[in-house]
């Protein structure tokens, strides 16, 4: 089934797009993996993840205890996956439309 193109302003900013694109290729990823891959600070990543979490696009599995060794995992929700797929389709449509205009 083809995902309908829908530009998503929440996902589009550079950092959030990278986070969601990275998570879209995974079942889940560690907070530290995303932070190191995108070269973000803990606080910058936390802020972006919270925004996406509030929108229902991802889930953050926080450690229940105070054990610092336990890792924080993040994963996209079905809503987040659908929004990302729609956003990519919208971007492809923009590129496709522009190419058609040129030719």
């Amino acid at each position: 089934m083809t995902t309908p193109a829908k530009f998503d302003e929440l996902i589009h900013p550079t950092t959030r797009l990278s986070i969601v694109a990275l998570l879209a290729a995974t079942d889940w990823a560690d907070f530290s993996f995303i932070r190191d891959s995108l070269e973000l600070s803990d606080s910058a990543l936390s802020k972006q993840l919270s925004t996406l979490e509030e929108a229902g696009y991802l889930v953050i599995d926080r450690p229940v205890s105070n054990d610092r060794r336990r890792r924080v995992r993040t994963r996209l929700t079905p809503v987040g996956r659908s929004a990302f797929a729609g956003h990519v389709a919208a971007l492809q449509r923009i590129v496709g439309t522009a190419s058609t205009r040129v030719h």
Binding site: H12, S18, L22, A24, A25, D27, A29, V88, I94, V95
Partner: protein, 160 residues
């Protein structure tokens, strides 16, 4: 905002999406201990085979197969090279399973040929002898094979 997004912005965003997907594919592979386990299990199985006790060989073969199958499914064919992420099945498609199984089948064939050659040369432990280069190939070649699979996945996605 949609209307204000130019073609070059959209291209740049799509390139970013592709870069992150490639980054995840770059994490595809088996942990090093997996290759060592298979290699050592291979040699152990060969030693048992050279003992020429069919029942023991049968039990050892089944045990090796079951242990490998359990490990293989636990690692989900390359999705857990590290414990920092789990790669989605769709991201690596069916390449991983085919690559690992083809590799093991090829190595089994190589070991059989090697054992027959060693036996014809009068070796006392032909299967053990032929298992050693195979085990070395597994340890040294396994990660390289996975790197090749990673490149294939990227190429296939780029072509798609």
């Amino acid at each position: 905002m949609h209307e204000s997004v130019s073609e070059s912005d959209a291209r740049s965003a799509l390139a970013r999406v592709d870069r992150e997907r490639r980054r995840v594919i770059g994490e595809f592979g088996m942990p090093r201990w997996y290759w060592w386990s298979v290699a050592l299990g291979w040699i152990a199985l060969a030693i048992v085979t050279d003992m020429k006790r069919p029942l023991v060989t049968l039990v050892a073969t089944v045990a090796f197969g079951a242990a490998h199958s359990t490990m293989y499914h636990y690692l989900a064919a390359g999705r857990h090279r590290t414990d920092q992420l789990s790669i989605r099945t769709e991201t690596v498609s069916w390449y991983a399973r085919v690559a690992v199984l083809a590799c093991l089948l090829a190595l089994t064939a190589a070991m059989i040929v090697g054992a027959l050659l060693a036996q014809s040369d009068g070796a006392r432990h032909p299967v053990t002898i032929s298992s050693i280069p195979v085990a070395v190939t597994i340890v040294l070649g396994g990660p390289a094979m996975m790197a090749g699979v990673r490149r294939s996945i990227v190429r296939s996605r780029t072509a798609a």
